[in-house]
């Protein structure tokens, strides 16, 4: 088939026909100076010597540059789906820029997890903000949380501009931005300021696995007293009660693309890379094995920890500690962090959510078997163009179902709604409705399909 080469320039714009405007060039320069400022801070004492000046300087250049750039990028475009040039873009189509960013992101995670002392110069820059919020000096996790939140907010503004024709996308994007800023950044740090346990009200077991592990439960109750009890209660209720009820009514999207921080980053910073997920049947098979294995791993580890805690090490000895240590390292650090975010420009924005997240696995099983959610296909209107499948961040071959006139009920669907947005014929719609008929048999008469292979 004819193919068009990826434009391996270092152009950031996703459409080669779009010339970078003067405003954008200025904004990019500011952004680059912000990055340069970070590098200088990393290799010097400037952060420790002039914390407020370096923080404000870097923040203004870095954030301001990025915001002005995206503002100007979308200001000139009419609202609507305009994925022009995405597949030619070096950044977005695994060109030189994409690989370079993948390596940089992955490298940052490696430094953060295993060599945090190398980041000390930059951590000092975050000190003024850390003192304001938490009353303490910054550490690598504070720096990480700050950069993560900034990424969600700045790229959230980009998503708001890009999808400004869609009220569903606007509200959903505002939701993930708000949850990240308030529940995953401000509240946890303010809790520290008031000498309470740092707690994230938007994360639950099994994604935040240790919230139902005996160690964390004990710590919360001991150090938080009344509030600590509430935190444990909140986490347990969200896992056991709220999650099944909300998933029944809305599908897993209520969490994965409206609340979750991992999902929030994927939907904002990861949006330019959503099409890089593998849509093959082979990938789907791997996904099902992997994600359910991780779920088994976390359930077994949790059970072992509690048995061990109840018997005070009498039954398994140090086995449960071995399990939890390996889970924390292999799944918590390497999979969800290094691979999950570092590989955005190479494997798409939902690698962790799709192949690893045990929360997604639980929600997915319920969504598949016991939920009112489905993506409805509008009769025989599909033209098999492939936009839905291409832009599905979860790697679902949406078209497979749509072209048969069949509804899409898949465990992995996070309900981001982008398939519905990019469909040029209005074929797809996210809906909650009665469970009978949810799968929507191929629409006889309109498509008259008797398909060859069973699709489940």
């Amino acid at each position: 088939m004819a193919s068009i080469p990826v434009f391996n320039s270092i152009a950031l714009g996703d459409n080669p026909a779009h010339e970078t405007s003067a405003v954008q060039r200025a904004a990019l320069t500011a952004f680059a100076l912000g990055v340069l400022g970070m590098l200088v801070a990393l290799f010097s004492e400037i952060g420790a010597a002039h914390p407020v000046a370096s923080l404000s300087g870097i923040a203004v250049l870095f954030v301001g540059g990025a915001l002005v750039y995206v503002w100007d990028e979308y200001r000139s475009r009419l609202p609507g789906i305009k994925n022009d040039g995405v597949m030619f873009s070096s950044n977005q189509a695994r060109g030189i820029l994409g690989w370079a960013l993948g390596i940089v992101f992955t490298g940052l995670y490696v430094l953060l997890y295993w060599f945090p002392e190398t980041l000390d110069g930059l951590i000092r820059v975050a000190d003024p903000l850390a003192y304001t919020l938490t009353g303490q000096a910054a550490n690598q996790w504070f720096l990480y949380g700050t950069l993560y939140t900034l990424a969600v907010l700045v790229m959230g503004v980009r998503a708001l501009l890009k999808y400004r024709h869609s009220r569903y996308q606007i509200v959903r994007t505002l939701s993930v931005m708000t949850v990240q800023l308030v529940f995953a950044f401000l509240i946890p740090h303010l809790l520290v300021l008031f000498q309470q346990p740092e707690f994230y009200f938007s994360y639950f077991w099994p994604l935040k696995y240790d919230y139902l592990w005996p160690g964390t439960v004990g710590y919360l109750i001991e150090s938080g007293e009344g509030l600590g009890y509430f935190m444990v209660f909140w986490g347990a209720m969200m896992t056991v009660v709220a999650t099944p009820v909300l998933t029944y009514f809305f599908g897993k999207r209520w969490y994965c693309s409206w609340v979750c921080g991992c999902g929030g980053l994927a939907e904002t910073a990861g949006d330019p890379y959503r099409h890089l997920s593998d849509k093959s049947l082979a990938a789907w098979k791997i996904e099902r094995w992997m994600i359910h294995s991780v779920l088994v791993f976390v359930v077994v580890t949790t059970a072992l920890l509690w048995i061990n805690s109840a018997t005070e090490g009498g039954v398994f000895g140090s086995l449960s500690q071995t399990f939890s240590a390996w889970y924390g390292f292999g799944i918590g650090l390497v999979f969800s962090g290094v691979v999950g975010v570092g590989f955005y420009p190479l494997m798409g924005s939902r690698v962790w959510c799709r192949f690893g997240c045990p929360m997604a696995a639980v929600l997915g099983m319920q969504q598949r078997f016991f939920s009112r959610f489905r993506i409805t296909t509008n009769g025989g209107q599909c033209i098999s163009c492939g936009n839905c499948s291409a832009y599905c961040e979860m790697g679902i071959d949406v078209r497979w179902y749509a072209q048969r006139g069949q509804n899409i009920v898949r465990a992995s669907c996070v309900g981001c709604g982008i398939c519905s947005a990019v469909c040029p014929r209005g074929v797809l719609n996210l809906e909650n409705g009665a469970r009978p008929g949810r799968f929507g048999a191929p629409t006889l008469g309109l498509i008259e399909d008797l398909d060859i292979l069973e699709a489940s």
Partner: protein
């Protein structure tokens, strides 16, 4: 049975898939000279614009064909020998068949204009056209697209995304005014211009002028105006691709002539999709209907006839049901169900609502007799309607009042989008003050708890009744 299908487009491939289901024993071979694998023609524009890669346009993964024992041959059929049941291929080989399905689609139509064979002048139908267009628009500053149809507006959008200044010449006084009623047609005119396309209505091409290298340099319109254009898209329609059948004994006119079960004049030879021409088309349908949806319906129907020898198949008379089609004009989506005649030649009446913003509309055409009404067609722009709901109303002959009162059941717009049923009902009541209707809606928790919500998924639509 060895079934050979010429053409791996939507009609041929749909037929192959359905034959495989109906007859597990059948040997199926698909011959195409265009591509190794089936791809979606409708996605060509997205490949050019960079929304998709060519690989994305393949609706099935490559293993699918072996898995389902559908043989794929990349070759060009030079000649069909219907006496010996044999195809003669360009590679020099031959391919014998028991049954033959011709599904060779179309070719862009030319207008006989001076200069239409210059480099940089082309239509857009398949991947080879796209490859040429990609090469020939490299570094081009200005282009002209000729033709006010669906492909014309797509080509204008494609060129626009590469920053090429584009003029669109439309022969009719308004865009696609032979299909779209005046209001919708004008809405599309406005949308095309809103995107910076130089839309020239009531303007035809006279000739294309060459530069020194035999490449298009400019076009001259029938007004005598010269428009610079290093690329010229000719999108005045397509014509069935049946030239290779000359001398085969298979009767052709514009396309391959077929009866109501896609049988040609030669026993054992069938034709479907763009290239088929019905001797007696179903009511309200054209003899040659070059649409994606029609190709798919043809393919599924002809499969039954091809498998008439099996327990599951039988000679099937083509019955496509109510007409439907869809398109996207830049950012405005368009769906149509049933019969919308811009001239209203059959005496139909029309109910039309347009959003004050001018980019959304709903039209319902209906027949009125003795105080009763019966809807016959829907046109919606900038909003999405459910096909099963609209077709059920059409099949039941629902009254206009019933349909307007229950429009919520047809709406297919994404959650949280602004709904306009109230405004539509108000417009209806202004036009029909003697018989006002009330919008069927439940609010708050009652709506949430109501079993009527099932109507939202199209499974439980209130039945329609004609007005007494």
């Amino acid at each position: 049975m060895h079934l050979v299908i010429i053409g791996n487009g939507i009609a041929g491939i749909t037929a192959a898939r359905h034959v495989r289901m109906l007859d597990p024993e059948a040997r199926i071979t698909v011959v195409s000279d265009e591509t190794d694998y089936f791809y979606s023609r409708t996605a060509l524009m997205y490949v050019y614009m960079g929304h998709l890669t060519a690989a994305h346009t393949k609706p099935y993964e490559d293993w699918f064909w072996d898995e389902n024992r559908i043989g794929l041959v990349r070759d060009y059929v030079e000649r069909v020998d219907t006496r010996a049941n044999t195809l003669h291929l360009r590679s020099g080989g031959t391919l014998p068949y028991d049954k033959l399905l011709i599904a060779t689609g179309s070719r862009p139509r030319l207008g006989g204009w001076p200069g239409e064979d210059l480099r940089g002048v082309q239509g857009l139908y398949g991947l080879p056209d796209l490859a040429r267009m990609t090469a020939d628009t490299e570094g081009v500053a200005r282009a002209v697209v000729v033709g006010g149809g669906l492909i014309g507006v797509e080509m204008a959008e494609m060129l626009h995304t590469r920053g090429i200044h584009t003029a669109l010449l439309v022969r009719e006084p308004s865009y696609m005014s032979h299909v779209l009623p005046a209001e919708e047609s004008d809405m599309v005119n406005r949308e095309i211009r809103r995107h910076g396309i130089d839309l020239r209505l009531g303007t035809e091409l006279r000739e294309i002028l060459p530069d020194a290298n035999g490449r298009a340099r400019a076009v001259v319109t029938t007004d005598g105006e010269e428009l610079p254009a290093q690329f010229v898209g000719l999108t005045i329609g397509v014509t069935p691709n049946v030239g290779f059948l000359d001398g085969s004994g298979i009767e052709t006119d514009r396309g391959v002539l077929v009866d109501e079960a896609f049988e040609t004049s030669v026993p054992g030879v069938y034709a479907a999709g763009d290239c088929a021409q019905h001797r007696a088309p179903p009511p309200g349908r054209k003899p040659v209907e070059q649409l994606w949806y029609t190709g798919r319906l043809h393919g599924a129907a002809v499969a039954h006839t091809l498998c008439a020898h099996t327990t599951h198949g039988s000679r099937r008379v083509y019955d496509p049901g109510p007409f439907f089609n869809s398109a996207k004009f830049f950012d405005i989506e368009y769906q149509t169900y049933g019969r919308i005649d811009p001239e209203r030649a059959g005496g139909e009446r029309t109910f039309y609502w347009e959003h004050p913003g001018g980019r959304q509309s709903v039209r319902i055409d209906y027949e009125a007799a003795g105080g009763a009404t019966r809807v016959v067609g829907f046109n919606v722009m900038g909003t999405r309607y459910r096909q099963v709901v609209c077709e059920r109303w059409l099949a039941e002959g629902a009254s206009l009042a019933h349909v307007v009162a229950h429009l919520g059941a047809a709406n297919f717009d994404p959650e949280l989008y602004r709904r306009h049923e109230k405004a539509i009902v108000a417009a209806y009541n202004r036009a029909h003050p003697q018989h006002p209707v009330r919008l069927d809606q439940k609010k708050g928790w009652r709506r949430w708890m109501s079993p009527d919500r099932r109507g939202l998924t199209g499974t439980d639509i209130p039945p329609g009744r004609a007005l007494p």
